[in-house]
Symmetry: D3
Subunit: 68 residues, 6 copies
Amino acid sequence: MPVVHVHIWKGFSEERIKEIIEGITNVFVKTGIPSHAVEVIIHEIPKAHWGIEGKPATESRKDSKPPI
Amino acid sequence: MPVVHVHIWKGFSEERIKEIIEGITNVFVKTGIPSHAVEVIIHEIPKAHWGIEGKPATESRKDSKPPI
Amino acid sequence: MPVVHVHIWKGFSEERIKEIIEGITNVFVKTGIPSHAVEVIIHEIPKAHWGIEGKPATESRKDSKPPI
Amino acid sequence: MPVVHVHIWKGFSEERIKEIIEGITNVFVKTGIPSHAVEVIIHEIPKAHWGIEGKPATESRKDSKPPI
Amino acid sequence: MPVVHVHIWKGFSEERIKEIIEGITNVFVKTGIPSHAVEVIIHEIPKAHWGIEGKPATESRKDSKPPI
Amino acid sequence: MPVVHVHIWKGFSEERIKEIIEGITNVFVKTGIPSHAVEVIIHEIPKAHWGIEGKPATESRKDSKPPI
Protein backbone atom coordinates (compact mmCIF):
# COMPACT_ATOMS: atom_id res chain seq x y z
CA MET A 1 0.00 0.00 0.00
CA PRO A 2 -0.39 2.34 -1.83
CA VAL A 3 -0.83 1.12 -5.39
CA VAL A 4 -0.83 3.90 -7.98
CA HIS A 5 -1.88 3.43 -11.61
CA VAL A 6 -0.71 6.21 -13.92
CA HIS A 7 -2.28 6.49 -17.39
CA ILE A 8 -0.31 8.59 -19.85
CA TRP A 9 0.06 8.93 -23.60
CA LYS A 10 2.66 6.74 -25.21
CA GLY A 11 5.85 8.65 -25.85
CA PHE A 12 7.15 9.89 -22.49
CA SER A 13 10.91 9.36 -22.40
CA GLU A 14 12.33 6.80 -19.96
CA GLU A 15 13.89 9.73 -18.09
CA ARG A 16 10.46 11.36 -17.54
CA ILE A 17 9.00 8.01 -16.47
CA LYS A 18 11.74 7.59 -13.87
CA GLU A 19 10.98 11.08 -12.53
CA ILE A 20 7.28 10.25 -12.31
CA ILE A 21 7.98 7.02 -10.38
CA GLU A 22 10.41 8.76 -8.04
CA GLY A 23 8.22 11.84 -7.58
CA ILE A 24 5.02 9.94 -6.80
CA THR A 25 6.84 7.62 -4.41
CA ASN A 26 8.23 10.62 -2.55
CA VAL A 27 4.75 12.05 -2.07
CA PHE A 28 3.92 8.99 0.04
CA VAL A 29 7.30 8.79 1.76
CA LYS A 30 6.62 12.31 3.09
CA THR A 31 3.48 10.96 4.80
CA GLY A 32 5.60 8.35 6.59
CA ILE A 33 5.06 5.36 4.28
CA PRO A 34 8.27 3.41 3.44
CA SER A 35 9.29 3.55 -0.25
CA HIS A 36 9.32 -0.25 -0.57
CA ALA A 37 5.55 -0.24 0.05
CA VAL A 38 4.78 2.10 -2.84
CA GLU A 39 4.02 0.57 -6.25
CA VAL A 40 3.62 2.86 -9.25
CA ILE A 41 2.35 1.20 -12.40
CA ILE A 42 2.61 3.15 -15.66
CA HIS A 43 0.07 2.41 -18.40
CA GLU A 44 1.02 3.86 -21.78
CA ILE A 45 -1.95 4.58 -24.03
CA PRO A 46 -1.55 5.53 -27.71
CA LYS A 47 -3.03 9.00 -28.35
CA ALA A 48 -5.41 7.40 -30.87
CA HIS A 49 -6.92 5.37 -28.01
CA TRP A 50 -7.35 8.27 -25.59
CA GLY A 51 -10.64 10.06 -26.18
CA ILE A 52 -11.21 13.63 -25.10
CA GLU A 53 -13.99 15.92 -26.32
CA GLY A 54 -15.56 12.98 -28.09
CA LYS A 55 -12.60 12.33 -30.38
CA PRO A 56 -9.24 10.57 -30.19
CA ALA A 57 -6.59 12.96 -28.81
CA THR A 58 -4.79 12.56 -32.15
CA GLU A 59 -7.58 14.81 -33.46
CA SER A 60 -8.84 16.85 -30.51
CA ARG A 61 -5.38 17.51 -29.01
CA LYS A 62 -3.37 17.44 -32.23
CA ASP A 63 -0.69 19.83 -30.96
CA SER A 64 -0.12 18.36 -27.49
CA LYS A 65 2.84 16.06 -27.12
CA PRO A 66 4.06 13.91 -24.23
CA PRO A 67 7.16 15.39 -22.52
CA ILE A 68 10.45 13.94 -23.75
CA MET B 1 -14.97 13.96 -14.73
CA PRO B 2 -16.00 11.39 -15.84
CA VAL B 3 -13.07 9.09 -16.59
CA VAL B 4 -14.04 5.94 -18.49
CA HIS B 5 -11.74 2.96 -18.97
CA VAL B 6 -12.80 0.62 -21.76
CA HIS B 7 -11.24 -2.85 -21.94
CA ILE B 8 -11.62 -4.59 -25.29
CA TRP B 9 -9.91 -7.31 -27.27
CA LYS B 10 -7.11 -6.19 -29.55
CA GLY B 11 -8.28 -5.88 -33.13
CA PHE B 12 -11.09 -3.30 -33.18
CA SER B 13 -10.59 -1.08 -36.22
CA GLU B 14 -9.69 2.58 -35.68
CA GLU B 15 -13.12 3.44 -37.10
CA ARG B 16 -14.87 1.36 -34.40
CA ILE B 17 -12.67 2.90 -31.71
CA LYS B 18 -13.64 6.40 -32.85
CA GLU B 19 -17.31 5.44 -32.65
CA ILE B 20 -16.83 4.07 -29.14
CA ILE B 21 -15.13 7.29 -27.99
CA GLU B 22 -17.78 9.47 -29.60
CA GLY B 23 -20.69 7.32 -28.44
CA ILE B 24 -19.59 7.09 -24.81
CA THR B 25 -18.85 10.83 -24.68
CA ASN B 26 -22.36 11.57 -25.99
CA VAL B 27 -23.91 9.47 -23.21
CA PHE B 28 -22.49 11.98 -20.73
CA VAL B 29 -23.13 15.06 -22.85
CA LYS B 30 -26.84 14.11 -22.77
CA THR B 31 -26.72 14.36 -18.94
CA GLY B 32 -25.42 17.93 -19.24
CA ILE B 33 -21.66 17.30 -18.87
CA PRO B 34 -19.48 19.19 -21.41
CA SER B 35 -17.59 16.95 -23.85
CA HIS B 36 -14.20 18.42 -22.90
CA ALA B 37 -14.66 16.97 -19.41
CA VAL B 38 -15.10 13.38 -20.62
CA GLU B 39 -12.01 11.20 -20.96
CA VAL B 40 -12.35 7.75 -22.53
CA ILE B 41 -9.29 5.53 -22.27
CA ILE B 42 -9.20 2.40 -24.44
CA HIS B 43 -7.19 -0.57 -23.18
CA GLU B 44 -6.57 -3.21 -25.84
CA ILE B 45 -6.06 -6.69 -24.45
CA PRO B 46 -4.90 -9.62 -26.61
CA LYS B 47 -7.51 -12.41 -26.64
CA ALA B 48 -4.88 -14.75 -25.16
CA HIS B 49 -4.74 -12.52 -22.06
CA TRP B 50 -8.48 -12.26 -21.54
CA GLY B 51 -9.79 -15.16 -19.50
CA ILE B 52 -13.41 -16.28 -19.63
CA GLU B 53 -14.77 -19.62 -18.43
CA GLY B 54 -11.38 -20.39 -16.94
CA LYS B 55 -9.51 -20.29 -20.25
CA PRO B 56 -8.04 -17.64 -22.54
CA ALA B 57 -10.70 -16.33 -24.94
CA THR B 58 -8.52 -17.69 -27.77
CA GLU B 59 -9.80 -21.09 -26.58
CA SER B 60 -13.16 -20.48 -24.89
CA ARG B 61 -14.40 -17.88 -27.42
CA LYS B 62 -12.55 -19.21 -30.47
CA ASP B 63 -15.19 -17.97 -32.94
CA SER B 64 -15.78 -14.48 -31.53
CA LYS B 65 -13.95 -11.66 -33.25
CA PRO B 66 -13.65 -7.96 -32.45
CA PRO B 67 -15.73 -5.78 -34.82
CA ILE B 68 -13.78 -4.37 -37.77
CA MET C 1 -16.01 -8.38 -23.44
CA PRO C 2 -16.05 -5.40 -23.24
CA VAL C 3 -15.58 -4.37 -19.61
CA VAL C 4 -16.11 -0.67 -18.98
CA HIS C 5 -15.17 1.09 -15.74
CA VAL C 6 -16.85 4.47 -15.28
CA HIS C 7 -15.50 6.84 -12.62
CA ILE C 8 -17.88 9.62 -11.63
CA TRP C 9 -18.46 11.89 -8.67
CA LYS C 10 -20.79 10.60 -6.00
CA GLY C 11 -24.25 12.04 -6.37
CA PHE C 12 -25.55 11.00 -9.79
CA SER C 13 -29.19 9.96 -9.42
CA GLU C 14 -30.11 6.32 -9.99
CA GLU C 15 -32.00 7.46 -13.09
CA ARG C 16 -28.82 9.01 -14.57
CA ILE C 17 -26.82 5.89 -13.71
CA LYS C 18 -29.36 3.71 -15.53
CA GLU C 19 -29.07 5.95 -18.59
CA ILE C 20 -25.26 5.70 -18.48
CA ILE C 21 -25.39 1.89 -18.29
CA GLU C 22 -27.95 1.68 -21.10
CA GLY C 23 -26.23 4.28 -23.28
CA ILE C 24 -22.75 2.77 -23.03
CA THR C 25 -24.09 -0.73 -23.65
CA ASN C 26 -25.83 0.50 -26.81
CA VAL C 27 -22.57 1.96 -28.14
CA PHE C 28 -21.21 -1.60 -28.25
CA VAL C 29 -24.45 -3.23 -29.41
CA LYS C 30 -24.25 -0.95 -32.48
CA THR C 31 -20.87 -2.53 -33.32
CA GLY C 32 -22.49 -5.97 -33.28
CA ILE C 33 -21.62 -7.09 -29.74
CA PRO C 34 -24.53 -8.70 -27.83
CA SER C 35 -25.71 -6.72 -24.79
CA HIS C 36 -25.20 -9.67 -22.42
CA ALA C 37 -21.46 -9.44 -23.13
CA VAL C 38 -21.15 -5.81 -22.02
CA GLU C 39 -20.34 -5.08 -18.38
CA VAL C 40 -20.41 -1.48 -17.15
CA ILE C 41 -19.05 -0.94 -13.66
CA ILE C 42 -19.74 2.42 -12.01
CA HIS C 43 -17.25 3.70 -9.43
CA GLU C 44 -18.56 6.58 -7.36
CA ILE C 45 -15.84 8.86 -6.01
CA PRO C 46 -16.55 11.60 -3.46
CA LYS C 47 -15.64 15.03 -4.88
CA ALA C 48 -13.16 15.46 -2.02
CA HIS C 49 -11.24 12.44 -3.35
CA TRP C 50 -11.12 13.56 -6.98
CA GLY C 51 -8.18 15.85 -7.63
CA ILE C 52 -8.12 18.29 -10.51
CA GLU C 53 -5.77 21.25 -10.89
CA GLY C 54 -3.86 20.05 -7.85
CA LYS C 55 -6.79 20.32 -5.45
CA PRO C 56 -9.83 18.27 -4.49
CA ALA C 57 -12.74 19.06 -6.82
CA THR C 58 -14.61 20.31 -3.74
CA GLU C 59 -12.26 23.29 -4.00
CA SER C 60 -11.20 23.55 -7.66
CA ARG C 61 -14.64 22.73 -9.12
CA LYS C 62 -16.75 24.15 -6.30
CA ASP C 63 -19.70 25.02 -8.54
CA SER C 64 -19.87 21.81 -10.59
CA LYS C 65 -22.44 19.27 -9.52
CA PRO C 66 -23.20 15.73 -10.70
CA PRO C 67 -26.40 15.55 -12.79
CA ILE C 68 -29.51 14.55 -10.85
CA MET D 1 -3.97 13.44 -19.53
CA PRO D 2 -2.62 12.08 -17.23
CA VAL D 3 -5.19 10.16 -15.20
CA VAL D 4 -3.86 8.77 -11.93
CA HIS D 5 -5.70 6.23 -9.79
CA VAL D 6 -4.43 5.99 -6.21
CA HIS D 7 -5.46 3.00 -4.09
CA ILE D 8 -4.97 3.46 -0.35
CA TRP D 9 -6.36 2.07 2.85
CA LYS D 10 -9.39 3.82 4.27
CA GLY D 11 -8.44 6.20 7.03
CA PHE D 12 -6.06 8.78 5.53
CA SER D 13 -7.02 12.20 6.88
CA GLU D 14 -8.42 14.77 4.45
CA GLU D 15 -5.23 16.78 5.01
CA ARG D 16 -3.06 13.84 3.82
CA ILE D 17 -5.34 13.30 0.82
CA LYS D 18 -4.97 16.95 -0.18
CA GLU D 19 -1.19 16.61 0.03
CA ILE D 20 -1.29 13.48 -2.15
CA ILE D 21 -3.41 15.24 -4.81
CA GLU D 22 -1.19 18.32 -4.76
CA GLY D 23 2.06 16.35 -4.68
CA ILE D 24 1.17 14.00 -7.54
CA THR D 25 -0.11 16.90 -9.66
CA ASN D 26 3.16 18.75 -9.14
CA VAL D 27 5.15 15.74 -10.37
CA PHE D 28 3.48 16.22 -13.75
CA VAL D 29 3.56 20.02 -13.70
CA LYS D 30 7.36 19.75 -13.43
CA THR D 31 7.38 17.85 -16.75
CA GLY D 32 5.55 20.75 -18.38
CA ILE D 33 1.95 19.46 -18.18
CA PRO D 34 -0.62 22.07 -17.03
CA SER D 35 -2.25 21.30 -13.66
CA HIS D 36 -5.78 21.48 -15.10
CA ALA D 37 -4.95 18.42 -17.24
CA VAL D 38 -4.02 16.21 -14.27
CA GLU D 39 -6.75 14.12 -12.66
CA VAL D 40 -5.97 12.22 -9.46
CA ILE D 41 -8.65 9.79 -8.33
CA ILE D 42 -8.38 8.39 -4.81
CA HIS D 43 -9.86 4.95 -4.12
CA GLU D 44 -10.19 4.15 -0.43
CA ILE D 45 -10.12 0.44 0.35
CA PRO D 46 -10.95 -0.96 3.81
CA LYS D 47 -7.94 -2.84 5.25
CA ALA D 48 -10.10 -5.97 5.43
CA HIS D 49 -10.44 -5.85 1.62
CA TRP D 50 -6.74 -5.38 0.87
CA GLY D 51 -4.94 -8.69 0.71
CA ILE D 52 -1.22 -8.98 1.26
CA GLU D 53 0.67 -12.19 2.01
CA GLY D 54 -2.48 -14.16 1.37
CA LYS D 55 -4.49 -12.51 4.14
CA PRO D 56 -6.45 -9.31 4.67
CA ALA D 57 -4.11 -6.51 5.84
CA THR D 58 -6.19 -6.41 9.04
CA GLU D 59 -4.37 -9.66 9.87
CA SER D 60 -1.07 -9.59 7.96
CA ARG D 61 -0.34 -5.88 8.58
CA LYS D 62 -2.10 -5.57 11.94
CA ASP D 63 0.19 -2.80 13.21
CA SER D 64 0.33 -0.61 10.09
CA LYS D 65 -1.96 2.38 10.06
CA PRO D 66 -2.79 4.93 7.38
CA PRO D 67 -1.17 8.34 8.06
CA ILE D 68 -3.46 10.82 9.82
CA MET E 1 4.17 -7.66 -8.30
CA PRO E 2 1.54 -8.86 -9.05
CA VAL E 3 -1.25 -6.43 -8.24
CA VAL E 4 -4.74 -7.91 -8.61
CA HIS E 5 -7.93 -5.83 -8.59
CA VAL E 6 -11.08 -7.85 -7.95
CA HIS E 7 -14.47 -6.27 -8.69
CA ILE E 8 -17.42 -7.98 -7.07
CA TRP E 9 -20.94 -7.14 -6.01
CA LYS E 10 -21.35 -5.79 -2.51
CA GLY E 11 -22.47 -8.48 -0.12
CA PHE E 12 -19.81 -11.20 -0.13
CA SER E 13 -19.24 -12.32 3.46
CA GLU E 14 -15.89 -11.56 5.09
CA GLU E 15 -15.25 -15.32 5.08
CA ARG E 16 -15.66 -15.49 1.27
CA ILE E 17 -13.43 -12.43 0.85
CA LYS E 18 -10.69 -14.09 2.91
CA GLU E 19 -10.93 -17.18 0.71
CA ILE E 20 -10.65 -15.05 -2.43
CA ILE E 21 -7.54 -13.27 -1.12
CA GLU E 22 -5.94 -16.54 -0.03
CA GLY E 23 -6.92 -18.42 -3.18
CA ILE E 24 -5.68 -15.78 -5.63
CA THR E 25 -2.42 -15.37 -3.71
CA ASN E 26 -1.84 -19.12 -3.88
CA VAL E 27 -2.25 -19.09 -7.67
CA PHE E 28 0.86 -16.89 -7.84
CA VAL E 29 2.76 -18.68 -5.07
CA LYS E 30 2.50 -21.84 -7.19
CA THR E 31 4.38 -20.02 -9.99
CA GLY E 32 7.22 -19.29 -7.56
CA ILE E 33 6.27 -15.74 -6.50
CA PRO E 34 6.53 -15.10 -2.72
CA SER E 35 3.19 -14.36 -1.01
CA HIS E 36 4.42 -11.03 0.40
CA ALA E 37 4.73 -9.74 -3.18
CA VAL E 38 1.08 -10.41 -4.04
CA GLU E 39 -1.45 -7.63 -3.43
CA VAL E 40 -5.15 -8.39 -3.90
CA ILE E 41 -7.45 -5.36 -3.78
CA ILE E 42 -11.18 -6.00 -3.48
CA HIS E 43 -13.57 -3.41 -4.93
CA GLU E 44 -17.17 -3.87 -3.80
CA ILE E 45 -19.72 -2.50 -6.25
CA PRO E 46 -23.43 -2.21 -5.38
CA LYS E 47 -25.54 -4.33 -7.76
CA ALA E 48 -27.35 -1.14 -8.84
CA HIS E 49 -24.04 0.21 -10.15
CA TRP E 50 -23.04 -2.89 -12.10
CA GLY E 51 -24.52 -2.90 -15.57
CA ILE E 52 -25.05 -6.08 -17.55
CA GLU E 53 -27.28 -6.47 -20.60
CA GLY E 54 -27.82 -2.73 -20.62
CA LYS E 55 -29.44 -2.58 -17.18
CA PRO E 56 -28.30 -2.51 -13.55
CA ALA E 57 -27.81 -6.07 -12.26
CA THR E 58 -30.58 -5.33 -9.73
CA GLU E 59 -32.89 -5.65 -12.75
CA SER E 60 -31.12 -7.90 -15.27
CA ARG E 61 -29.75 -10.36 -12.68
CA LYS E 62 -32.53 -10.01 -10.10
CA ASP E 63 -32.14 -13.55 -8.76
CA SER E 64 -28.33 -13.72 -8.52
CA LYS E 65 -26.84 -13.10 -5.12
CA PRO E 66 -23.25 -12.75 -3.94
CA PRO E 67 -22.06 -15.86 -2.01
CA ILE E 68 -22.36 -15.54 1.76
CA MET F 1 -19.35 -10.73 -12.14
CA PRO F 2 -16.60 -10.93 -10.96
CA VAL F 3 -14.16 -8.95 -13.11
CA VAL F 4 -10.53 -9.44 -12.14
CA HIS F 5 -7.69 -7.27 -13.45
CA VAL F 6 -4.24 -8.81 -13.01
CA HIS F 7 -1.16 -6.60 -13.41
CA ILE F 8 2.09 -8.46 -13.96
CA TRP F 9 5.49 -7.83 -15.48
CA LYS F 10 5.84 -8.57 -19.15
CA GLY F 11 7.46 -11.94 -19.72
CA PHE F 12 5.23 -14.56 -18.10
CA SER F 13 4.99 -17.52 -20.46
CA GLU F 14 1.64 -18.30 -22.08
CA GLU F 15 1.58 -21.49 -19.99
CA ARG F 16 1.83 -19.47 -16.73
CA ILE F 17 -0.85 -17.06 -17.95
CA LYS F 18 -3.22 -19.96 -18.63
CA GLU F 19 -2.61 -21.28 -15.11
CA ILE F 20 -3.33 -17.84 -13.65
CA ILE F 21 -6.61 -17.55 -15.58
CA GLU F 22 -7.67 -21.08 -14.63
CA GLY F 23 -6.55 -20.74 -11.00
CA ILE F 24 -8.27 -17.42 -10.35
CA THR F 25 -11.47 -18.61 -12.04
CA ASN F 26 -11.50 -21.69 -9.80
CA VAL F 27 -11.27 -19.52 -6.68
CA PHE F 28 -14.67 -18.09 -7.60
CA VAL F 29 -16.16 -21.34 -8.85
CA LYS F 30 -15.51 -22.76 -5.36
CA THR F 31 -17.78 -20.01 -3.93
CA GLY F 32 -20.59 -21.16 -6.24
CA ILE F 33 -20.14 -18.69 -9.11
CA PRO F 34 -20.32 -20.26 -12.61
CA SER F 35 -17.05 -20.09 -14.60
CA HIS F 36 -18.71 -18.33 -17.55
CA ALA F 37 -19.36 -15.35 -15.26
CA VAL F 38 -15.68 -14.87 -14.33
CA GLU F 39 -13.57 -12.55 -16.47
CA VAL F 40 -9.83 -12.35 -15.82
CA ILE F 41 -8.01 -9.60 -17.68
CA ILE F 42 -4.21 -9.74 -17.75
CA HIS F 43 -2.31 -6.45 -18.08
CA GLU F 44 1.36 -6.91 -18.93
CA ILE F 45 3.58 -4.05 -17.76
CA PRO F 46 7.24 -3.74 -18.82
CA LYS F 47 9.52 -3.86 -15.75
CA ALA F 48 10.79 -0.38 -16.70
CA HIS F 49 7.25 0.96 -16.19
CA TRP F 50 6.64 -0.69 -12.81
CA GLY F 51 7.97 1.45 -9.99
CA ILE F 52 8.86 0.01 -6.61
CA GLU F 53 10.99 1.69 -3.95
CA GLY F 54 10.95 4.86 -6.02
CA LYS F 55 12.68 3.32 -9.03
CA PRO F 56 11.72 1.22 -12.04
CA ALA F 57 11.83 -2.49 -11.14
CA THR F 58 14.55 -2.85 -13.79
CA GLU F 59 16.75 -1.11 -11.19
CA SER F 60 15.22 -1.85 -7.78
CA ARG F 61 14.34 -5.50 -8.54
CA LYS F 62 17.15 -6.22 -11.01
CA ASP F 63 17.35 -9.92 -10.15
CA SER F 64 13.63 -10.76 -10.09
CA LYS F 65 12.23 -12.35 -13.19
CA PRO F 66 8.68 -13.26 -14.23
CA PRO F 67 8.04 -17.04 -14.08
CA ILE F 68 8.46 -18.82 -17.41
